[in-house]
């Protein structure tokens, strides 16, 4: 749940990038960190293994400055996608206001995507939140892969809830900011 500090006139929202291992969650945050103007971004904090896989989380604070007198901050997190880290994902998801589910378009990853999305539903429900009402945006990443599944097929298996979805190539930034804008607007609409 978002936090509004009336005395300090501050609003904080927490957004979590969720999805299977290697789908490109960290790459999304790295691209945002490289591209966004320097008065908006804080340091990107990554707790990763030696092989650059996320071990705990990545964290990127974004400060949007004053909006109608309120200092507004978005805190972006990624979860570690490897199966092994299921309990760690629960910890990072704690208190999230919105989730970007990053799916890997690689044909061979469909099942992993489905499994990860099911796990997300379970984890949100366990936080006593209604999954149907929870703010979620879908991102189909790695659209540049030659064996990328057609969007219609991914929709069929992943987007039964009819969320807003974006196609992306996180490595070059395609769709990264569209995704960030969508989730930010959605979270703000629920404040």
């Amino acid at each position: 749940m978002a936090l509004i500090n009336v005395a300090a006139r501050e609003i904080h929202c927490k957004i979590v990038y969720y999805g299977p291992g290697m789908c490109g969650k960290t790459t999304n945050l790295q691209y945002i960190h490289e591209s966004v103007s320097s008065d908006v971004k804080g340091d990107l904090l990554s707790i990763a293994t030696e092989t650059e896989r996320t071990l705990f989380f990545d964290f990127l604070p974004l400060d949007l400055g004053k909006v109608r007198g309120f200092q507004t901050r978005f805190h972006l997190y990624t979860v570690p996608g490897q199966i092994l880290y299921e309990r760690t994902r629960v910890a990072v998801l704690n208190g999230a206001d919105g989730v970007v589910f990053v799916a890997d378009s690689d044909k061979s990853k469909l099942e992993e995507n489905i499994r990860s999305l099911k796990e997300l539903a379970v984890n949100i429900t366990r936080q006593n939140k209604k999954f149907q009402e929870f703010p979620i945006i879908l991102q189909y990443n790695k659209r540049d892969l030659p064996n990328a599944l057609p969007v219609a097929v991914m929709d069929k298996y992943l987007n039964g809830m009819n969320w807003t979805r974006h196609e992306a190539i996180a490595t070059t930034g395609v769709g990264v900011f569209d995704t960030l804008k969508s989730i930010s607007r959605l979270v703000i609409s629920r404040l």
């Binding site: 936090l3 966004v36 908006v40 109608r68 704690n94 006593n128 609409s189 404040l191």
Partner: protein, 164 residues
Amino acid sequence: MDPQLTSLIVPTEEVTQIEECLSHLVEDTGGNYALLLDKSGQVIVSQGDGIRQDITALGALIAGTFASSREVAKLLREKDFRMLFQQGVRENIFIALIEEQWILCVIFNKGTHIGLVKVLTKKATDELASVLERVRQQHKARDEVLGSSFRTSMEDTIDLLFKD
């Protein structure tokens, strides 16, 4: 709408009470710093000497540590670890949970005995729990706090700043 999805609005009066509670805690323990975090890792109030520039990252890490220790507790069939203590060479940090929603942290050095910190933190968590209870009960309408045009201004800002 699902009440779990609505915002937690902390009014000015309650922020003042939290500030007082934390500065007493710092004074009485001879600690260096006290922080109140939301479980999502956001800093609600911080009190103490000097400015910590890395406070945002600190909040994210402490909340992450606490949340992951809770998962450890579950695996050990423990209900919860209500408190955590991390010992450094120069500074120690003591962390306590308030009603699954807030996290209180006290940073103190060798001069302070951990027993004292434990007792006074317990007292402070009781006080903060009643502040939290009041915050939860005040169902302030969002528009009353933010103004009705906040959302459109926010959308314009998002479009302006979130771009390559």
